[in-house]
Amino acid sequence: MRDNAVLAGSLKFLALGDIMQLLGANSSSGVLRLISRYAPEPGFIYFENGNPVNASCGTAIGLEAVYALFGWTDGEFEFTKENIVSQRVITKSRMGIILEGLKMVDDGQVKRVGPGAPSRKSATATDSDAIPIVKGPLVDYMYVADEEDFFDGEYIVEEGKHGSWIWVILEGVVEIVRETPEGPLPIVRLGDGSFIGSLSSFLIQGHIRTATAIAVGNVQLGVLDSQRLAQEFASLTPEFRGFLVSLDKRLKQLNERAIELRQKQLDTSDFLDNKKPVMKQGNVEEELYVIREGSASVVRQEDFGRIPLAQLYAGDFFGHTPFLDFGHEPESASVMATKELKVRKVDVAQFQKEYNQLSTTFKNFIDNVATCVSVSTKVVCNYYKKFGLGK
């Protein structure tokens, strides 16, 4: 946080409409800065005496930018008190902007930027081929043991090689690529604050890399004290460790789905046949379950079809996770299973407690995995829409 910020917080708690009313009632002048893990660049709104006068969001400016920012449901904001020299581009009244902005979000005219928000009336302008960027929270330097620089195009890790180092991106963009018979397929791009490396590297010595990471432009990485992180991981309860591994598996599977779709080899029968929903997308669900026997599948319902996301087996978790948002069930995906499924309820409060006690870096790491799950899901859905099943 910059030191002259006078108001800061989470957009999840205080939405843009509320912030604008607050600044309006206070007749504040200054800059409101919004950051989201799901947007490559921050958004800015300039206020003069409580009224928005200009804004920018990506390439958009003015009123268009303000409306786009209403779609940011997850992220952080900070307001800095400043005298505004920016030209008055926006003349519409504050309440008019707020009501219009919210209406545009509800109507689907403005894209929702946040975890797993299903694309309603899917914005036509978005390029389904564009690889989204995942950003992480501010880096905690306590865990950065060393810094390393990579040049454009350089390989940071290679799929199939051994290695258990974990990096955090201090500056720059890294592309994660999977090898396929038809050549490398980009899965996701990671930006500042994101992590390179997987949770499963804590489990096995000489862990095999499951994807390739390539620097896009010059990149500065922080080498994390992986021993310290591994120790922290080992000190967790077996059940919580199981949960983290299960989350990591989901991410791997989503990458598999993307590859299968790209090669038109996705077989949905394993996911859907003879299965009934045990948790329906959009339903309110308070519990978290672990599978004892049988298997289940996670499926996202969109206008254009049912998209299989992941298979869950014994030891995997599903349900409501209060401390993590990875854009799957129960809000944004269903869980389907046959009658053979046997589950056990998990003590969510205990999980929450354990999560709260984690170090900042470890928390960031897990949050980053969750964000990657949510973004990879979007990639899978886009591929599904673009390539179909092909069978």
């Binding site: 008019g96 919210l102 109507d107």
Partner: protein, 204 residues
């Protein structure tokens, strides 16, 4: 929850017009906007939402006095009824201080009225408010249509349908001609300010 603006020495409170689509919420507000020009502050914001329009403007009630030496400014809103406008509804209904429920007197709209009232109760509950406690006034709108031979529900029936449990003040209205519009608003403002006064006394 009314907002105290210490800079302007003002208390800002929110009154929302609720009701089924096309019941005349918007017409109510438009009538107020054009007939009470002196008390209206600023422009009217009008957003075209599917099936209905969403309106907003600031209103200064005259003759209702001050609270603790602060002027009272009322924000008048209509709220879009369609399920999909949840973001707008959330913003409008959060911290609402008083509600006018506009019911449609047309016989064919009987069920729509009841569903909308139920919906209001559910929405208020989501923001931690009870429909029995929030200052609420009913308006049975479109009474003028009887002259044109359109079948309307009797006032007794509407009272029974909508107001049997609530027992809130109710008015007959014809928003197109302005009949009952002022009385409805005045009663709602009275209840709202009384309820605010009570809250502040309790806080002392």
């Amino acid at each position: 929850m009314a907002i105290f603006n210490l800079k302007k020495r003002e208390i800002e409170c929110k009154v929302v017009y609720y009701g089924p689509g096309r019941c005349g919420k918007t017409t109510n507000l438009e009538y107020i906007f054009s007939s009470y020009k002196k008390q209206v502050k600023g422009e009217m914001v009008s957003i075209n939402t599917e099936g209905d329009r969403t309106l907003f403007f600031d209103f200064l009630p005259i003759g209702l006095g001050q609270i603790k030496g602060c002027d009272v400014r009322v924000q008048l809103y209509t709220v879009p009824g369609q399920v999909k406008y949840s973001s707008t509804r959330k913003l409008v209904l959060r911290g609402v201080d008083g509600i006018v429920f506009v019911a449609d007197s047309l016989e064919v709209r009987r069920e729509k009225n009841m569903l909308s009232l139920k919906d209001l109760q559910a929405n208020l509950k989501e923001y931690g408010k009870s429909i029995f406690k929030v200052p609420l006034v009913m308006q049975y709108n479109k009474r003028d249509l009887a002259e044109q031979g359109i079948p309307l529900m009797s006032i007794e029936q509407m009272e029974k349908d909508l107001n049997r449990q609530l027992k809130v003040p109710s008015f007959q209205g014809s928003a197109v001609s302005g009949e009952g519009v002022g009385a409805t608003l005045k009663e709602c403002l009275k209840l709202t300010l009384q309820s605010l006064q009570r809250e502040f006394k309790w806080a002392q």
